[in-house]
């Protein structure tokens, strides 16, 4: 029989026992709805986490350090992959040449030095020891500054600062709101490097400008205390809100990156890397933050950087575990959702077996008129398929409505708790399509036994049936 005739006859048969078939279809719908509702929540939660991490720039950022100074140790850097030492270039200093070389790599958007140091923040009469970080303009939209009071730095070299809310509270008088710090100046006191004149020059003058110890001479720079005023243009809500590029989220004060660089601050690890200097060899960096064009390019860039002789670290490996967790989470949600569909499939079997008993004579007549076993089998399959398709379509709508209701209830609850409600519900197109296909497949599978039984009916016996 042609597919059009088959579908027409199947639809006609389903209409005849409309109540029973509707209830069976509703059973499938409930199964599909539970599957869609649960998975949409699972997918929504996963997307929420992905969005947060991606928004914070964790997926597309690689931290590059000199292999000599790599605090994580090992030739492969932070990724902890054992590597054949012969494949790697010899360790190289992380200087301007290296920065330019990394910038030239494909899929690299920008390379910024990591400037991070401890300083004393002072607003008379209070002073606090804080962590200061240089912030690139590209980090403006990362999660670090979510809910910022005030504005971002007006220019790359503005003498401006963004202060975390908790620090602002400590610097202000008791009872003042953190935002009150906006427009005021704070002073940062820090240890500054000062380059020593070359030894030849020292000899020529024969009179050193300042007392230089033998250790400082070996380092190539001296350390002097320095301080600078900055205008507070932004205050973040709280220190624990949001993330940020690697290493930024725990800082108390942010400065424009270029400004922070020019401060020539002694950074953590500088004393260990005594070879770093501001000499004629050029600037050497503690670390560089490399931003990739997409998270998928991170691994390839990491590989290239490692082969260039540096240690590279990204959070891609760490987030892989998170993805595995969500895959398992979704699997369990899917299994629980499918249980209802499995129960519904028993309903389909029951309905179709009942239909065989009721339509025994009809099957006999069809066979007497020339229906082959395969025609009868296909007719019952088509009926199961139509129920599955209708159940799948209605189930997706029902699941969508249930998901919306859960999202709505969650929003109300979170708002009452004073939390900004995130979107924890998502119905991607593949879930809609997959749920409908799954419903049809389960229905067809449920139809196998009844369809085979109907096809095997002896026409002579069937025609005698009253």
């Amino acid at each position: 029989m042609k597919i059009g005739d088959l579908t027409e006859l199947a639809a006609r048969n389903l209409r005849e026992a409309v109540l029973r078939n509707s209830l069976t279809t509703l059973g499938i719908s409930v199964g599909v709805a539970s599957l869609v509702a649960l998975l949409s929540l699972g997918v929504g939660l996963q997307q929420l986490v992905d969005r947060s991490v991606a928004h914070a720039g964790l997926f597309d950022t690689i931290s590059v350090r000199s292999r000599q100074s790599n605090p994580l140790g090992g030739p492969g850097g932070g990724r902890g992959r054992p590597r054949d030492a012969a494949d790697l270039e010899a360790p190289r200093p992380l200087d301007d040449a290296a920065r330019k070389e990394i910038e030239a790599l494909p899929n690299v958007l920008e390379v910024n030095p990591e400037v991070r140091f401890t300083a004393e923040a002072r607003r008379e009469p209070v002073s606090q020891l804080v962590m200061v970080a240089g912030m690139a303009a590209s980090s403006q939209n990362s999660g670090t500054l979510d809910g910022l009071n005030g504005h971002f730095f007006s220019s790359a070299d503005a003498q401006e600062a963004i202060v975390q809310g908790d620090l602002a509270k400590r610097l202000l008088d008791a009872g003042q709101a953190p935002a009150s710090l906006l427009g005021q100046e704070i002073t940062l006191r820090f240890a500054q490097r000062q380059a020593l004149p070359p030894p030849s020059q020292q000899g020529a003058n024969d009179a050193p400008t300042q007392a230089v110890g033998p250790d400082e001479e070996a380092m190539g720079f001296s350390i002097i205390p320095s301080e600078k005023k900055f205008l507070v243009v932004g205050v973040t809500p709280a220190s624990d809100a949001g993330g940020g590029p690697v290493g930024l989220n725990n800082s108390g004060v942010y400065l424009p990156l270029a400004v922070a660089e020019k401060l020539q601050v002694v950074q953590q690890g500088d004393l260990r890397d005594v070879s770093r200097s501001n000499s004629a060899q050029g600037m050497r960096y503690a670390a560089l933050n490399v931003r990739a064009s997409s998270p998928s390019a991170v691994a390839q860039i990491e590989e290239r950087v490692t082969h260039m002789g540096f240690a590279a670290f990204s959070l891609i490996d760490v987030t892989r575990n998170l993805r595995t967790f969500f895959a398992i989470f979704d699997l369990f949600l899917g299994i629980f959702g499918s249980l209802a569909l499995a129960v519904a499939s028993l309903g389909i079997i029951n309905t179709l077996v009942m239909a065989i008993l009721e339509r025994r004579r009809e099957i006999g007549v069809l066979k007497a008129l020339g229906a082959a076993d395969s025609d009868v089998r296909q007719l019952f399959f088509a009926e199961a398929g139509v129920m599955g398709l209708a159940g799948g379509l209605f189930g997706v709508l029902l699941g969508w409505a249930i998901g919306r209701a859960i999202q709505f209830a969650t929003m109300i609850y979170l708002k009452r708790q004073g939390v900004t409600p995130p979107n924890i519900w998502s119905v991607p197109w593949w879930l809609v399509l997959g749920a409908i296909v799954f419903a049809v497949v389960v229905s067809l599978a449920s139809g196998i036994y009844p369809a085979s039984r109907a096809a095997r009916l002896d026409p002579v016996e069937a025609l005698r049936y009253e």
Partner: protein
């Protein structure tokens, strides 16, 4: 009897059965519903099968229809061995070569008359545009052109049987098998149905059809059939050629 197996050799015969048997096991007992029957039905012949209840006439008709398979022996319809056919081939045989009319009409009550008559055309996968014409023609032939949208329950017994005949003929089969077509009808309506069947056997114009009819009404058989075979206990007990 040596039964030829090729179409050429069976020219002149619509059905040839050679020592055909259909035995059932019911518990320990073996029921010989049809037992080693040999018979030929000529093309264009009207054969009536008579016999008491349980004599095996309906079983023999089912074997000719390909609704049942013989336990032994061979049966050829239009030169093709039904016993050797696959179930799919038998289905095609039932759809194209024969038309069947039952005592209890066997119309599908959920469908209208035209839908019932269209069923064999659907199974034959006839293109949709050709179907309405064929259905109308078949229903006109049995005088039901005005009742196409009615359901079987809205018709009298005679009308239902005429609709069943239209359904049996819509695919223009060579052989019409009728299992007690007047059994559920009063004598007057039965006469009308027999006249209709006789008209199908020998139409005023165009080719006639081979008809095998099971009946227990000897009078009707003698009036319309070319030959009568009487069955008893699954075997032929008497054969009479009338015309």
């Amino acid at each position: 009897m040596n039964v030829p197996e090729t179409t050429e050799a069976s020219n002149g015969y619509a059905i040839r059965a050679d020592r055909i048997s259909r035995h059932y096991k019911m518990g320990e007992a073996l029921i010989r519903a049809v037992d080693a029957i040999t018979l030929d039905v000529g093309k264009g012949e009207f054969l009536a099968l008579l016999g008491a209840s349980g004599s095996g006439k309906s079983t023999l008709l089912n074997l000719m229809a390909g609704l049942d398979r013989p336990s032994s022996g061979t049966i050829l319809a239009m030169g093709r061995d039904l016993a050797a056919m696959s179930s799919e081939e038998l289905a095609t045989h039932r759809n194209r070569t024969i038309g069947i009319v039952f005592q209890s009409f066997q119309l599908l009550p959920r469908m209208t008359l035209e839908e019932n008559v269209e069923l064999p055309l659907r199974l034959a996968e006839l293109p949709r545009p050709e179907r309405p014409g064929r259905v109308r023609e078949a229903l006109e032939r049995v005088g039901l052109a005005a009742r196409t949208r009615h359901r079987p329950t809205e018709l009298s017994g005679g009308e239902q049987q005429r609709a069943a005949i239209a359904r049996a003929l819509v695919n223009q089969p060579m052989i019409l098998l009728a299992d007690e077509p007047t059994g559920n009808l009063d004598s007057k309506t039965g006469e009308e149905i027999m006249s209709l069947i006789a008209g199908i056997h020998r139409p005023p114009s165009g080719p006639g059809r081979t008809i095998v009819m099971v009946t227990h009404e000897r009078v009707l058989a003698e009036r319309y059939a070319d030959r009568i075979i009487t069955l008893s206990d699954g075997a032929i007990s008497r054969e009479e050629r009338l015309r």
